[in-house]
């Protein structure tokens, strides 16, 4: 995980006209802010209760100035890093900056106030130094149990946001350093696993406390005025460098279309259209023409769509640019209200952040494949593969719930094959190890966990492999799912082939054949459903999609094809059919 081993940046500055700070000091300040964000994440990883925190690292950590401009971030979850800009600015606008006092912590998870989806809870703490408000430290994290209609949230057949968990507008869970007991009581009464929520919230607070302490150290050395000026300068540097990167992309209007295959409520698909304009040093991503918002939970709020576009542009540009507000200024996102890329209240949104988000990021790559073929990547598996489950733990009678996600194959790119079974491009998370999965939860035995041969799209640079997990139910459990790429292929680019689709099947105890959940339980969608009760002996098979291929497979180096066969990544038959390999 890059968050733990993040590299230091050298800004390659030529000196400062504004601050009087030399380039070395500016670089040190930038790296100090970034490493503070990284340490915030480590604090959460080390002190939280749930595996989605301490194994999957499904959280992000950011520092803001008093106007809500991002000063620094660490390399955690890209979709959260983009949306937190909107969550924080909404909070400051709604509450007003004067509402904050030292020791306050504001909590917020409302998607219709900028949160990515209901499980993602943002905490925001002001940092006062020498009596002045310097800025805010913030984190956002995916709670494994938000009090939705089914355990773990992300109900695949939700039709309103109210079914996706307890909604919290910006509220002070701490006021001047003291817990607001009433807020705590309401939340803990609404989550199925209050002890886990309590522990994870405390981990988030500890992370904020650490960041506040670190900022005081920095401000003690340099003073508020100097650091503010340095931050302004770092933002200007980031904007200047990002604009230079965009200027290097040929001007033009680039278009791409993709589709969300169904919404859990009906079998209709939801097309999305992108018209990407590169004009000198600005980018406008226009989603006009995309489908109306869905009835089911595949809708993206505006912040998710914008975040997915930011994610793509950051992937395509110089990774040494300071990651602050300046990176985002050249990027404009147009998403008409009432569409699948900017849904309106009270549409359900859970899968917008897990499924539609990676699709949007991929669409930017798809649109730019002609303009900058050397930098884009084919489609990834494009699903976070959310598989939610919960029930009563027979070991102690307590409730448990878990949000489980899987890796997918990533697309091939110039010079390299796609990654195998890595959590999709919007998440940058880790999977839950089998040992942790089986130890923490009584529901399943993992029989098998493997890469799927031939799942990577053929190409000069092959798509990464998807995988398969086979689970046997060991105690009564309620499951839900919200997956994609079961009907629509992960596409290849520049004559590369498509990756394999995924799937989820069930085999009831005592039966011989695998069935879809439509066949076994009458769900509307084979991939999006909620509240299905499984019994001991039932089995679930989860297949994750591969990535698309890059370039003509006939051009693939023959030694690489031979190695793929030897490694079991590609079968001989497919090597012959897809690559023309006669070895």
């Amino acid at each position: 995980m890059s968050a733990i081993s993040g590299e230091q940046r050298n800004l390659s500055l030529t000196g400062s006209e504004h601050t009087g700070l030399d380039p070395v000091t500016l670089t040190v300040i930038d790296n100090f802010l970034t490493s503070t964000c990284r340490d915030m994440g480590v604090t959460m990883m080390k002190t939280s209760y749930s595996p989605i925190f301490n194994e999957s690292l499904d959280f992000s950590c950011v520092i803001f100035d008093p106007e809500g401009q991002m000063l620094a971030q660490a390399e955690f979850c890209p979709s959260q890093i983009g949306t937190i800009k909107f969550t924080v600015t909404w909070t400051l606008d709604e509450l007003g900056v004067d509402a904050f006092a030292p020791g306050d912590v504001v909590l917020h998870n409302d998607p219709y106030r900028g949160s990515g989806h209901v499980p993602e809870h943002m905490m925001l703490k002001p940092v006062f130094h020498s009596g002045q408000l310097f800025g805010f430290v913030a984190n956002v994290a995916h709670m494994s149990e938000p009090g939705a209609k089914t355990p773990g949230g992300l109900s695949g057949d939700a039709t309103e946001v109210f079914q996706e968990g307890l909604l919290l507008p910006p509220v002070k869970i701490k006021h001047r350093g003291e817990d607001n007991e009433d807020i705590w009581k309401i939340i803990l009464a609404n989550h199925r696993t209050p002890k886990v929520t309590f522990g994870d919230f405390r981990a988030m607070m500890a992370s904020l406390d650490l960041a506040e302490e670190r900022l005081h150290e920095l401000l003690d050395v340099h003073g508020v005025t100097t650091i503010r000026a340095a931050c302004r300068e770092l933002i200007e540097i980031a904007e200047r460098r990002m604009r230079a990167e965009i200027r290097a992309i040929p001007n033009g209007v680039y278009e791409f279309e993709d589709v969300i295959e169904d919404d859990g409520i009906s079998d209709r698909s939801y097309p999305m259209r992108l018209r990407l304009t590169v004009r000198d040093d600005d980018v406008i991503a226009d989603f006009t023409g995309s489908a109306p918002q869905a009835v089911g939970p595949v809708n993206a709020i505006y912040a998710v769509t914008a975040s997915a576009v930011y994610n793509a542009i950051l992937h395509l540009t110089d990774p040494t640019i300071p990651r602050n507000e300046g990176c985002y200024r050249p990027i404009t996102v147009i998403a008409p209200p009432g569409t699948i890329v900017n849904c309106t209240f009270p549409a359900p949104v859970a899968g917008g952040n897990t499924e539609t988000s990676p699709r949007i990021t991929d669409m930017v790559f798809g649109a730019l494949q002609v303009a900058i073929p050397e930098r884009v990547v084919a489609a990834c598996g494009g699903t976070s593969s959310p598989f939610l489950f919960g029930g009563v733990d027979p070991r102690d009678g307590g409730l448990y719930a878990h949000f489980h996600f899987e890796g997918v194959g990533w697309g091939g790119r110039a010079g390299l094959d796609g990654n195998d079974m890595v959590v999709t491009i919007n998440g940058n998370c880790r999977n839950t190890p089998v040992e942790v999965f089986e130890t923490r939860y009584p529901a399943f035995l993992i029989e098998e966990y493997r890469l799927l041969p031939d799942s990577g799209g053929p190409g000069e640079f092959r798509g990464g492999l998807g995988g398969e997990r086979l689970l046997t139910v060991t105690s009564d459990v309620t499951v839900s799912a919200l997956l994609n790429r079961m009907k629509a292929d992960p596409w290849g680019i520049l004559d590369g082939g498509n990756g394999a689709r995924g799937g989820i099947w069930v085999k009831r105890a005592g039966e011989e054949s695998w069935q879809t959940f439509v066949e076994a339980f009458g769900t509307i969608s084979p991939s999006k459903f909620s509240g299905i009760r499984l019994r001991p002996g039932d089995q679930v098979r989860l297949a994750m999609p591969g990535g698309g291929g890059y370039g003509d497979p006939e051009r693939r180096d023959r030694a690489s094809v031979a190695r793929d066969i030897a490694e079991g990544f590609v079968t001989s038959d497919r090597a012959s059919a897809d690559y023309g390999y006669r070895g």
Binding site: G289, P292, V333
Partner: protein, 87 residues
């Protein structure tokens, strides 16, 4: 309703001078969950917005830059993909 009068604030938007407008800061409502949206980008507006009058109508924007872009960006006129499908 609070109205910060008039012309674009000093931080940006020289091109906006041709449009009269005002920053509007309505009170927060916790009994009406409906949102306003930027007429250019579609972003839901938390509270404060830039309102311009032009051509007999008015538009609200999340910031001055979007009010400016709204006058120069060539809007897509393509129909929604699902409309195409259903025809």
């Amino acid at each position: 309703m609070n109205v910060d009068d008039g012309r674009a604030e000093s931080d940006s938007g020289a091109d906006i001078a041709s449009q009269s407008g005002a920053w509007i800061t309505p009170p927060i409502s916790y009994v009406d969950p409906r949102r306003r949206f930027c007429a250019f980008c579609g972003r839901p507006i938390a509270r404060r917005f830039w309102r311009v009058s032009r051509g007999g109508g008015e538009g609200i924007f999340c910031d001055l830059a979007h009010a400016r872009l709204d006058t120069t960006y060539p809007r897509s006129t393509t129909p929604r993909l699902d409309d195409l499908e259903s025809n």
